[in-house]
């Protein structure tokens, strides 16, 4: 897919996430919209995987460690062909498959780890990356974290061990949208300087624009062979990205859009999902 197609796809994902949020009364819209471009670049450009063989031993592993972004991931996995898009009709229904966070892998193809409790995805991803080294496989492991998630001590425990192990096939992307549930992530805990923190733990760290599709395509397809250091990208993003009245407004961490807001959002995105 070329860059225009990926950008168009990202708009469609955003529109679908918004209407699903409204229909199913599912929160975390702002957090979903901030990471849509990252997910699209990963699943439609960079990751080596085959949706028909979701447990293939050599696949790249992508872990949505910020599990509350699941509503966006569920749309992306369906569009990528891991399961029929019609399955999403049961979203939020009693007895359905889709919780507000990713379930254990056996419940849904394409999911690598059940997240939602923050700070779990990176340690598990590190374990997967180390297993590749033991088995002499070439797969990459990419974990998408939120800035608020970097409050968790286990993130830094894993960062230290990854640094000590000089594990080259592990990549972190931090969806740095500057907010966490109840306030600015810079104010709640001392997050800055975020890139330098990762460097201090033995990682290569680079800051990027987390909505620049070309930059995201490049990092998601980057080969990680023969590296002796884990790699972190601090992706500067906007919470609620793509819809003017949601952008950088933390109310949309929990707010559910009404019918009129859904229409306005779709109009802005130029998409009828």
């Amino acid at each position: 897919m070329n860059i225009d197609e990926l950008q168009s796809l990202a708009r469609t994902v955003r529109a679908r996430v918004i209407s699903t949020s409204s229909r199913t009364q599912t929160p975390h819209l702002g957090s979903c919209l901030s990471c849509v471009d990252i997910l699209v670049a990963a699943y439609f450009h960079g990751l080596h995987l085959e949706p028909k063989k979701p447990r293939d031993a050599d696949r790249d592993r992508f872990i949505l460690s910020k599990g509350h972004g699941a509503p966006a991931l569920f749309q992306v996995l369906a569009m990528r062909g891991f399961y029929p898009e019609s399955l999403l009709d049961s979203y939020g229904e009693d007895g359905g498959l889709f919780a507000e966070h990713p379930p254990a892998p056996k419940h849904l193809p394409g999911i690598e780890a059940a997240t939602g409790s923050l700070g779990h995805g990176l340690p598990m991803g590190l374990g997967m990356a180390l297993a590749a080294r033991i088995q002499k496989r070439d797969y990459r492991v990419i974990a998408l974290l939120s800035d608020g998630e970097c409050n968790e001590g286990s993130v830094w425990e894993a960062a230290m061990m990854a640094g000590a192990q000089k594990i080259g096939n592990l990549m972190v992307v931090v969806d740095f949208n500057k907010w966490q549930a109840t306030g600015r992530s810079e104010d709640i805990l001392a997050l800055s300087p975020l890139a330098d923190k990762w460097r201090a733990f033995g990682w290569d760290a680079t800051e990027i624009d987390g909505h620049d599709m070309r930059a995201l395509m490049e990092i998601m397809s980057r080969p990680l062979r023969n590296r002796d250091k884990p790699l972190a990208f601090i992706a500067h993003t906007v919470k609620g990205k793509g819809v003017s009245f949601m952008e950088d407004d933390n109310n949309w961490h929990y707010r559910i859009p009404n019918d009129e807001e859904v229409l306005r959002a779709h109009r802005e995105l130029g998409v009828t999902p």
Partner: protein
């Protein structure tokens, strides 16, 4: 026991390339042999147990069979959410070993005691909970746990525990081992305190009371067949564990008994009290403080037998 663990995991590691050993910065020199043979499969994860548990789960989901080893509180209470979510919810075949369980580290103080681990671990879905009595059972438990497709918790002792089995007994997870036959009462014991239970049976034998002794190396799944048999056959069944009387094997048996609508046998629980031990002392001293001695157990059992008119 820890030396037997190191020896057995070294053998298993050489035979099975899936085996990975993760240590939380303990076991100085204990794993030198494992490292010598399987250097790329040994990880000192440092004093960072939450990460260690997540790493193990990630490895298990990628085809390895990780075995985690550190002191019991640090591999249970310290990283409980990682056990619950990463290991148990994913049903990842991780073996979590807690060393120095119960009151093994009595003299180190309550930070190093573990008298609540069986309670919090057995409530977790998918988790098998083991407490071998000695190094013979430990080796059997470890081998059997490696055959499982889900996570296992195994609490073990420290060092110098008496060996109860002169030859390896028939073994299956979830099936208790009859250590001694008896006709008058029964003691079911889990973990290294088994030697105390057999000591109590010796004292009872001298009084003409023949007590059967069962080693419940598996706390979950509970061996309901053996429980049904002994609670119908004997007027008194004592549960012996180096663990709180709340929530451990005694608790599991009480739940089972209540749900069953009772039985002929009366349950008597021996274990630690609902407190952090306020004094320092040896394991021997600490056991005695909570009545985990052969003499106390034998005395209580004999009392109950007499009062039940048998």
């Amino acid at each position: 026991m820890r030396n037997a663990f190191a020896d057995e995991i070294t053998k298993l590691g050489m035979a099975d390339p899936r085996v990975v050993l993760l240590s939380g910065d303990i076991g100085n020199k204990l794993f030198d042999k494992f490292k010598q043979h399987n250097e790329e499969r040994f990880f000192n994860c440092g004093v960072a147990e939450a990460n260690m548990m997540g790493v193990a789960a990630g490895m298990a989901l990628s085809g390895q069979r990780p075995v985690i080893y550190t002191i019991t509180p640090f591999t249970t209470t310290r990283c409980y959410e990682q056990i619950r979510v990463d290991a148990c919810y994913h049903n990842a075949p991780v073996i979590i070993v807690g060393t120095g369980s119960g009151l093994s580290y009595a003299e180190l103080g309550p930070t190093h005691h573990s008298c609540e681990d069986l309670a919090i671990m057995r409530v977790l879905p998918n988790l098998t909970v083991l407490a071998p009595a000695d190094e013979v059972e430990l080796r059997l438990c470890l081998r059997a746990a490696l055959e499982l497709d889900g996570p296992t918790y195994m609490r073990i002792g420290k060092k110098g525990e008496p060996v109860n089995h002169s030859t390896p007994p028939a073994f299956a997870i979830g099936r208790a081992i009859t250590v001694r036959d008896g006709t008058d009462a029964c003691l079911i014991s889990t973990g290294t305190v088994l030697a105390v239970a057999t000591g109590a049976a010796d004292i009872l034998a001298a009084q003409g009371i023949r007590a059967r002794v069962e080693s419940f190396h598996t706390v979950k799944p509970l061996d309901q067949d053996t429980l049904s048999e002994v609670f119908e056959r004997f007027a008194v069944v004592g549960v012996v564990e180096e663990h709180s009387r709340i929530g451990g094997l005694g608790g599991a048996v009480a739940e089972w008994l209540a749900a069953r609508g009772g039985a002929r046998g009366r349950l008597v629980s021996f274990g630690t009290s609902d407190e952090f031990m306020p004094e320092i002392g040896s394991q021997h001293y600490a056991r005695a403080r909570y009545g985990l001695t052969a003499k106390n157990i034998a005395g209580k059992l004999a009392d109950v037998l007499h009062h039940s008119g048998l």
